[in-house]
Assembly symmetry: C2
């Protein structure tokens, strides 16, 4: 129910919170379409994601972090293509007009957009009868010779991941109540609660304010073959590269960069989080072995760890070996919106 005291015009809302000036040469919101030019010789890279309350975020999430994440998950797709962000569109459906909420959402969105020079040029707001729904479309530019496509992995390539894995999945499961830390601690209940609180503190930022690897993706694009961002879990997303490239891979669990907060979890929980946990937004890339020096240098310059986790091999399928050299079977499954 919308109280009659909540009366605000859609157009007021747009102009108050989402209509900062756009650079010369771009036509922003306030016309039928937004207009902009693409640099001659470059291709336009575009991606969109739809985020729904209750499905992709909790209803009590801080709107600032939600604004950040709505854009971050889309910028991450540009990063995985090696594209430079240029502009974005925002579609926002809200059940009511909560001025503070919208202002905080806009602040979080614009803070990340400004950092990447990604200009909000238009969009659409509407009133939802259910929960909040957010749809973002991003535009980037990329040199087609360097775009990191999923089908470009070659047998013999190294497989690399950026950052550390597993934290977002743990935070999500703590917030959803589907993970307890019991299995890893054996402490009494008061201690258990404290341990969960600490673990949530340590992992929550990975879930709510993921850092899209835009700068890293652009720097690596001249050196990598294939790339993908890990939105649905390493096993599943690397699987997309392998399938598209017609190759297989072997990775070693012991080489995977695990978030340090996960050290007290059971092997099963940690393995699930690292191999199958979604919402990560780190990059998984393949590159020939003669690129190792470049990768290490670029990772150091960007301040983001880049870790070699295995090799692309001829054939098909992904094999993951544990630290004893045993094949892990079956592999934990990744996130699939229509199955999980």
């Amino acid at each position: 129910m919308i109280a009659n005291t909540i009366v605000a015009s859609e157009f007021d809302l747009i102009s108050r919170f989402f209509k900062r000036p756009v650079p010369a040469g771009m036509l922003g919101g306030g016309d039928d379409c937004a207009l902009f030019r693409v640099t001659p010789g470059l291709e336009l890279a575009t991606s969109k994601d739809l985020l729904l309350e209750g499905r992709h975020f909790f209803s009590n999430v801080d709107p600032y972090t939600l604004g950040h994440k709505s854009l971050a998950v889309n910028l991450s797709d540009l990063a995985a293509m090696g594209a430079k962000p240029v502009a974005c569109l925002l579609g926002l459906a809200l059940p009511s007009f909560d001025e503070d909420w919208i202002a905080r959402f806009a602040d979080g969105f614009y803070a990340l957009a400004d950092l990447h020079g990604c200009v909000l040029i238009g969009g659409d707001t509407t009133r939802s009868q259910t929960g909040v729904a957010i749809s973002v479309t991003v535009f980037g530019e990329v040199d087609p010779a360097h775009a990191m496509r999923r089908n470009a992995a070659k047998a013999g390539d190294d497989i690399w991941v950026s950052g550390v894995l597993g934290a977002a999945d743990v935070a999500y499961r703590l917030l959803a109540g589907s993970l307890t830390t019991e299995s890893g601690s054996g402490q009494p209940s008061r201690g258990l609660f404290a341990l969960s609180e600490t673990l949530l503190e340590q992992t929550r930022a990975a879930l709510e304010t993921p850092v899209p690897r835009v700068f890293l993706g652009r720097r690596l694009s001249a050196h990598a073959h294939a790339a993908i961002d890990i939105s649905d879990g390493l096993v599943q997303d690397l699987g997309h590269i392998l399938h598209a490239s017609g190759v297989g891979a072997r990775i070693d669990e012991g080489l995977l960069p695990v978030h340090p907060a996960l050290q007290n979890l059971s092997l099963e929980d940690r393995r699930r989080a690292v191999l199958a946990g979604g919402d990560v937004y780190e990059l998984c890339l393949t590159a020939s072995v003669d690129q190792r020096d470049h990768f290490e240098r670029i990772g150091l310059e960007a301040g983001v760890p880049l870790t070699r986790i295995g090799q692309v091999v001829a054939g098909a399928g992904l094999e993951v070996y544990d630290q004893a050299g045993q094949l892990i079977e079956p592999l934990p499954k990744g996130f699939d919106h229509f199955r999980d």
Copy 2:
């Protein structure tokens, strides 16, 4: 609730229904981003709309027409800019996996996309916990010298509208139960029911399968000053042109092209439908008086009536005069998602 028998992978769904081949030179769905080139010298025009079940369409709508309309409302924005459609992205949130529903939705979407050479190059599907949510982003190309911007109207311009007005609003209100034909007929109840059924038959296509005026917009763009598509009602959308251009306008109710099915409605219902009814997707344009021959010829060639309804004047504000020459006050309000 999702029955356990409804098990289908998101990726199967995408590849089965939404992965038709894309032309050479474009990279479609199946990578982090879609890639395409913009013709040198032209600008990219882009727009997006978010459609929610219960808010923008009824839950029992035919999915074929919903697929059509989801794209049509976005193509209409390109039409109002004079842009040529190139590509689109589709975000689709569904509460369950209903194969027939998705197939019909895809058929309706692709039929309109194919007609306009608008290639579906990517998107995002997810499971919704509430109703269906649809987010479409379209891309077009436009010569910046001919893009029809809202701020380009000039005092002395003619004001034109394409097609006929009012039918979509009537169909919507009949389906929502907020319009009876009592006021216009005075017939007994059996006759009333039959009259409503006939009126719905005559107006429903305007609501459910609006025709985006893409060809017309492209032909008129070299001859018009300002343009907008009538999504929120003539008064409100023309008001956007006037506000952006710093001018006023005078239009004559007697000149407005009214859908013939509305002839038996009361003056009040008809006026509301024609002046303030949304979801129309006809174009409202302004052009200098020396363009009348061009407009009439182009309308004839396109098979779409183009009607002069008034003039742009110096000053501010919109005045509408009835057939007796009296100023209509107050004007019926247009559609605003956060107010109505």
